[in-house]
Symmetry: C2
Subunit: 110 residues, 2 copies
């Protein structure tokens, strides 16, 4: 009945916290994107602007596909990226062990 | 001072008619696309629908890039395709010689 507290293994509680935070971040990011597209469509008056929206969607789709990497070995990097981009705060990750939080915080500043 | 009336050469008048009709068709098609995207964005409630809009834009962009081929040797095919898809009527091409109109009409039914 030991709890994993090293920086590579993730305890059951840490996984639960991670899933919750990832879900919230994804929801924030996609809702922001939907709102942005709605605004741009509202202001759209020519095809050039529609292709700009298409370009935005192509870039965001690629970005979102790669960014939400939920593999244990990648979670520290995933959270660092989301923190850097402002989709999550370090406080939301409370409950992860301090070594992981330290890594995430450091990586987010790179 | 001869007027070209064969089916491959295009007279100055025919080119003028063609340019006007192509411009109108492109305008109709892109305005329809903009209206369609506006409607879909209005009804959008989740990301799945936003990605469907992205897929639609990718397909239409590719389609529009290839379809409006204004090279003289391709005009008959361009008009046949636009006629088939309903973006132009045969009446709008009045002024082209009858052999070209016949070709366009036949090709549009293939």
């Amino acid at each position: 009945m030991s709890t994993t507290i090293n920086t590579t293994g993730w305890s059951h509680t840490e996984i639960e916290i991670s899933q919750k935070v990832l879900k919230k971040a994804y929801q924030r990011e996609t809702e922001t994107l939907m709102a942005q597209v709605r605004n741009q469509i509202e202001d759209m008056s020519d095809m050039e602007q529609l292709w700009q929206i298409h370009d935005l969607l192509s870039a965001k789709r690629y970005d979102l596909d790669g960014k939400y990497d939920t593999r244990e070995g990648m979670l520290v990097f995933t959270f660092a990226q989301l923190l850097k981009e402002g989709w999550i705060s370090l406080e939301e990750l409370t409950g992860l062990d301090s070594a992981k939080l330290g890594k995430i915080s450091s990586l987010s500043k790179m």
